[in-house]
């Protein structure tokens, strides 16, 4: 309609409050329907508008259900808005569309912006500990490093267990970006409005072949039509401190041990200094972050735009991560609102400096009696172990400080992700919407470089060749096209709703890069160590459909189907079909439930579906017979010529999709108007035709191991979550959330031929020796169980070196005496968070606990034995645990090193205060203080019990971070 033509002679004023707490709502968008005329509520929740008496006002506010209020001639109105999470009327993103929670059939976890963990620099950490069955493990303490995310424990052995990320409808291609710690680091967490995790197959099957490990859907912030300009500035100052260092032998203890064990041969090598090497490589550091966002509507075009800068230093010297990120989202409507346009552009520049993390371990092992600097040292003045000729001993530990300071490893990464989505409601058939979504994800690192100076002892190779200079670049260009039709109709006669979607999707992933490594001397390229370039691509073509039928708001039935074609498989195996079915029953709407007045929600959901996996981590052509050209460093001499060679590659023509079947049953409950609500859920998942690297019969392929579809894996679990709002008054609000999940996995088949003698696939490489592993995949056991000897202890409880329990009872200790002990995956995971508000104060915390996760203490097993503390001409320190074991020789496979690493971690605690109406220009300003990684309670003897993969070696310690933050709305 033409709003401007109408007379606006009526004044309406009023107040917007929370329907439950009666709190005033500040900054609610209020718009005269069908126009761009509007306002926002002030700091008391009041508003005033010039309008026509028969207009309708729409009220929208983040986290609340939108309302339409006809004025009906009134001049004052009070509007009560309902918190979405309480109403249960919220809309969730389910892939190629949205769905009301009431009709939702799948297993979905959701966290919105106001609930995010504060102080997270990676999107992955925003919901750490918040969703049952979703484990987020920070990989290490390096700035800009990303967490490992496992949804319900993952479903693969050798293929990827990473979930699929979808940002505003654009699936983000998996796999690392060179020169970047975490691919998601390029997304500014401040731009994120909502993160939805799709867990079971009925929710994820619409993503078909990439959905076996769950899907994480990220929705970014957008402007509202008619919204006045809103400017927000946020600034954070963080101080990172090292939480803990590892106990090693003190200089005097070390001297004593060397003297006792090796006599003069050892003491001759001792120095007369006292150096705490860990102290030398870590520092407490300050980081800062600034974000400005602006949202509103320019004429009829709602927009949200932001720019953010993060300057992160790492506690390990010489590591840093600077991110500059910008975004723009436009959401206009055209053609009488029939055409909705959603344009989304975001770009970032991330500058990284990587510390040489080898220093973390050598700081433990380096002789504490040696100095950092030695004025006689020709190696940049850094002390180094040298032999009789004065040459560095290359198998000796390197000076940790030299490792950091003589390495310069940097990159600048540009990335842009964006899409244009057009939704068109057919004018002749309003129930039918056509959607076209064009997306891209480009990244570019053009100047990756890693220099080691030519006087570095740890990269010494004589005059001409010492040091190294690596330069690399990489570009990834991924494009997406989705087209789908959605038909949604109400059938009032049948008291039914019907909704169907059908579509097509096309994706192209392209990647190219090169690496060049030579000696350090930049003017004079004496020798090329390596010069590789590559390009590769893959396509994914899909057809998908979904139908949903709901009856009387009580019964919902959803069916989905996806057909995926992947260029990674041979023509006969190229297509995979992924169906799902699910049913939901809103029991609380049944007449017979009317007696249970306190029950506000009771919904039963049952689902089944099949999903797939094609992230096989074996390149893009594993089925294709092909030859690769060799590098110049691997040539063969024919007479006077060196020949670069062609090698045939192993291939598997029969390679096909890995398939996972999931069964899910859940009960959503709510009491007292959903002030007490939650879900109990159980699932069972079977992965068949596991993509697995297995030995091939000798003589039948150009490799001895090949990726094949061999093996089955079963995963099952129970999840429970619960949110309560014990206090909700005008002045005070208190919410507590708690979740528990239990997950077990078992390998049920590993070989084509059933062989009871087959012990399994050894996995889990450890440091110390070459080729040692500590874990095993074996039938009847969980993935990556520790495979060890049972240590014998003396009466005092100290381990007896080399004495293991003869489990076979044959009088000898052989490989057969090893047993399987625990696994790195926890039995039970807990998450607890709470938010308390009193007037302008707020207080929140979130904590996580894991029970039954085992960790192999590889730091102790690698260094904690006497015989190599003097190795010919150099000395090596040991963790202090050596005084308990007193091991002389390495005992890598003793179960003494496998520990129950159950823990409780306080991830963050925040206190904040909100100032209102400051100096009349600032409607709202919040000041807060946060401590991240506040404390950990555990019995684990190593530095940190949270070790992804369960093998604790060379971990960049996770710092404790103190954050001051200011958030101002203008």
């Amino acid at each position: 309609g033409n709003a401007f033509a109408q007379a606006r002679d009526h004044t309406v004023e009023g107040q917007v409050i929370d329907a439950n707490t009666e709190e005033e709502l500040v900054g609610v968008n209020i718009l005269v329907e069908g126009t761009t005329i509007g306002t926002t509520s002030d700091s008391d929740g009041n508003f005033r508008l010039e309008t026509a008496p028969d207009d309708t006002l729409t009220f929208s506010y983040i986290g609340y259900q939108s309302l339409e209020v006809p004025i009906e001639g009134r001049s004052t109105i009070t509007v009560e808005m309902m918190d979405e999470s309480i109403v249960g009327d919220e809309v969730v993103f389910i892939g190629y569309g949205t769905r009301q929670v009431e009709d939702n059939t799948g297993s979905i976890g959701r966290v919105t912006a106001d609930q995010f963990n504060p102080g997270s620099t990676s999107p992955g950490e925003l919901f750490q500990g918040r969703i049952p069955g979703v484990d987020v493990t920070s990989s290490d303490g390096a700035p800009g490093s990303g967490p490992a995310i496992r949804i319900r424990g993952g479903s693969s052995l050798s293929a990827s267990n990473d979930p699929l990320f979808v940002i505003d409808g654009v699936p983000i291609a998996p796999g690392g970006i060179s020169g970047m710690r975490d691919p998601l680091n390029s997304i500014n967490p401040n731009d994120i409005e909502d993160i939805t995790v799709l867990k079971d197959a009925s929710a994820t099957a619409i993503y078909g072949s990439r959905a076996s490990n769950g899907v994480i859907v990220i929705t970014t912030k957008q402007g509202q039509a008619g919204q006045p300009l809103q400017l927000n500035y946020e600034s954070k100052l963080s101080y990172q401190t090292q939480r803990e260092t590892l106990d090693v032998l003190e200089p005097d203890q070390f001297r004593q041990v060397i003297d006792d064990r090796f006599g003069e041969r050892g003491t001759d090598r001792l120095g007369d200094h006292e150096t705490d090497w860990q102290d030398q490589i870590y520092s407490n550091v300050l980081s800062h972050e600034h974000n400005i966002s602006l949202s509103g509507a320019y004429r009829e075009v709602p927009f949200h735009t932001s720019i953010g800068f993060t300057g992160d230093e790492g506690i390990l010297n010489t590591s840093s991560n600077d991110r500059l990120a910008g975004s723009l989202r436009l959401t206009p409507r055209f053609l009488d609102d029939n055409l909705q346009v959603d344009l989304n552009l975001r770009g970032s520049r991330v500058e990284n400096r990587f510390a040489n993390t080898e220093a973390v371990n050598t700081a433990i092992a380096f002789d504490p009696t040696q100095p950092v600097m030695d004025e006689d040292s020709p190696f940049g003045g850094y002390f180094a172990w040298t032999d009789a000729d004065g040459q560095p001993i290359d198998i000796a530990p390197a000076n940790p400080v030299a490792l950091l300071e003589q390495t310069r490893d940097e990159s600048t990464v540009y990335r842009s992700v964006g899409n244009l989505q057009l939704d068109y409601n057919m004018p002749f058939l309003q129930d039918l919407t056509a959607t076209l979504n064009l997306g891209y994800d480009y990244s570019d690192v053009s100047d990756g470089r890693n220099f080691v100076t030519d006087n570095a002892a740890f990269d010494f190779e004589g005059d001409e060749f010492s040091g190294s200079r690596t330069e690399y670049d990489q570009r990834r260009e991924n494009q997406l096209l989705d087209f789908y039709l959605n038909y949604e109709t109400e059938l009032p006669d049948l008291r039914s709703n019907f909704d169907a979607t059908a579509g097509y999707s096309w994706e192209h992933n392209y990647e190219e890069g090169e690496t060049f490594t030579t000696n350090y001397n930049i003017e004079d390229t004496v020798v090329v160590h390596s010069d590789t370039d590559y390009k590769t691509e893959n396509y994914l073509v899909s057809f998908f459909g979904r139908a949903n039928y709901s009856l009387m708001n009580r019964y919902s039935l959803t069916a989905t189907m996806r057909a995926d074609g992947s260029s990674r498989f041979a023509e006969d195996n190229r297509w995979g079909y992924f169906p799902s079915m699910a049913f939901a029953w809103n029991m609380h709407r049944e007449p017979f439930m009317e007696d249970f007045g306190r029950l506000s929600q009771l919904r039963l959901r049952i689902g089944y579906g099949v999903t797939g996996q094609q992230e096989i981590l074996q390149g893009n052509y594993p089925y294709l017979a092909r030859y690769t050209f060799g590098e110049t460093s691997a040539q063969y001499r024919f007479g006077d010529d060196f020949i670069r060679t062609y090698r045939p590659e192993g291939y598997n023509l029969d390679l096909k999709w890995e398939e996972t079947k999931t069964y899910n049953i859940a009960l959503d409950y709510g009491f007292y108007d959903n002030r007490l609500r939650g879900t109990i859920e159980a699932y069972h998942r079977e992965t068949e035709d596991l993509l697995n690297v297995v030995p091939v019969a000798a003589g039948t392929n150009f490799t001895n191991r090949i990726i094949s579809n061999v093996g089955d894996l079963e995963v099952q679990g129970i999840e429970l979550d619960f949110t309560g709002v014990p206090v909700a008054t005008r002045d005070a609000y208190w919410e507590v959330s708690f979740n528990v999940s239990h997950n077990v996995n078992e390998i049920t088949r590993l070989t084509t031929v059933d062989d009871p003698d087959y012990i399994g696939v050894e996995t889990g490489d450890i440091a110390g020796g070459t080729g040692n592993t500590i874990q095993i995949h074996s039938v009847g056991n969980p993935r990556s169980a520790f495979y060890v000897y049972e240590q014998v202890y003396d009466e005092e409880g100290n381990p007896v070196e080399g004495a293991y329990v003869d489990r076979t009872g044959d009088g000898r200790i052989t490989e057969d005496d090893k047993y399987r002990l625990g696994s790195p995956d926890p039995d039970v995971t807990f998450g607890l968070s709470s938010r308390f508000q009193y007037q302008n104060w707020d207080f929140s915390f979130s904590a996580r606990a894991q029970v039954g996760n085992y960790v192999y203490n590889n730091v102790d097993s690698e260094y904690g034995f006497y015989s190599m503390m003097l190795y010919n001409q150099y000395l090596r320190n040991s963790p202090a645990s050596i005084t308990e074991t007193n091991f002389v020789d390495p005992r890598f496979h003793s179960d003494h090193y496998v520990e129950d690493a159950s823990f409780l971690r306080m991830d963050n605690i925040t206190v904040g205060y909100t100032f209102e109406n400051l100096f009349d220009v600032v409607p709202s300003m919040r000041v807060s203080g946060t401590v991240n990684n506040a404390f950990v309670i555990t019995n684990y003897s190593g530095l940190d019990p949270e070790v992804f993969g369960g093998i604790d070696n060379q971990v960049y310690p996770r710092p404790r971070t103190w954050i001051m933050s200011v958030n101002i709305d203008f």
């Binding site: 590559y534 030859y627 060799g630 590098e631 039948t700 392929n701 020789d889």
Partner: protein
Amino acid sequence: TDDLSTSPIDDSEVTSDMIYEDPENFRKVLAKLYAGLAVTGQEGPAGSPDIDGIDEGFSSYIRQLWVTQELPTDQAVVAWPDPGLPGFNTQSWSPGNDFVMGMYSRIFYQITLANEFIRNARDEDDPQIQQYMAEARFLRAFSYWHALDLFGGNIPFVTEDDPIGAFEPEPVGSEEIFSYIESELMDIEDAMPAPQENQYGRADRAGVWMLLARLYLNAEVYIDEPRYDEAVTYTQRIIDEGGYELNSTYDQLFLADNDEADGVIFAIPFDGNNTQSFGGTNFIIHAAVGGSMSAADFGISGGWEGHRVTPEFVDKFDKDNDVRAMFHTDGQNRDVDNLGDFNEGYAVTKWRNVTSTGEPGSRSAYVDTDFPMFRLADVYLMYAEATLRGGAGGDMNMALNLVNDIRERAYGDETGHITSDELDLDFILDERARELYWEAQRRTDLIRYGYYTSADYVWAWKGDTQEGTSTSEHLKLYPIPSSDINSNPNLTQNPGY
């Protein structure tokens, strides 16, 4: 959906349908068949491995051969605790052993690559390609010989007539493998270039004769049938028609400029810049250096502190007069009380990355020293042994002269000469030890003489006691790796495992 039929877009990847359209590519694939003996993958020293499931450096053909042929004998002990490795010191291994798997996989990798090449080359008319094909057949026979020697006849048998993909090859037994190698070598003899007529690094007709001689000399072990007559015939042929002469000095054969040494019949070349790996001679040289040895003297930037010898081996030398007694004794115990300590047992200085004039090799991290796979002194000793064992056509006088030629080079004059009375089989075995130690031959020699497992000759740590003890006969063959037993139901394990 046509988009789904992708093919590699990288210039360095070519589909198998396309590769042989360019005749020049035959040469590049043949180079890979040879390179499989030298490097471990397409990127030196490591990065794009041929063999999986084992550290890439460990997977080198020559490194594996060295481990399986030297460590279980009196000639070497290793200090490293890498899983499965210490057992080689004591002749203790199981079908799950990583190194056994590595050697086996490398051998069959070579055989499968050769089959593919031959399959594609056999219909080409180009005489150049026909010669390449003969060389590929030589390399396949060479690897089948190692398979027979190390693993016996229970091995899968595949030729160019077998496909690539899911099938389970059958074993055919020792006799058939033996006669297959024999007939292949006979068949290609004429197609191979005459001795010394092929390029350096490639095999020629003398290589074919040498491999035949090897096969015949060990025929009693392989097929329980003496074939010493043929052993004499082919060693004689190399001596008569090869045109080789002994290099004037012994030490140059193991130095960075050994590509200029005489008397090398088939060498596997290494190069500090162009042929890099953590195996081959790079491994042999680095692993030998430690203790008070000066890495610079070896042309390297640091030793790996791994290998030494047993006292029984040291005793075989007249140390003051024989230049081949290249031991480093300063700071080293003669006895090996502790296998894991580099200072226990004498170290060996035979292999080095410096030239005969004392110049270091081109790089200190990767050596220039080539591996002389077949060399003339070995031929002399094989001739003498085959003659002593009654090979028809053998001449005892000639045998004595050949042995004395070797001794004269070792002693620098005639003082090392022996008389015809002293020339017996045990002398030959000891002379082979002195001449050919650390060249990956010892296990085969000890088995041929019946000393490998028996109580007739023991050395430190044989059978896991320091004084040495007899071991079980079944150890003469390595087990078929459990990885292959599990993937190929047609295979049966070697007896005793």
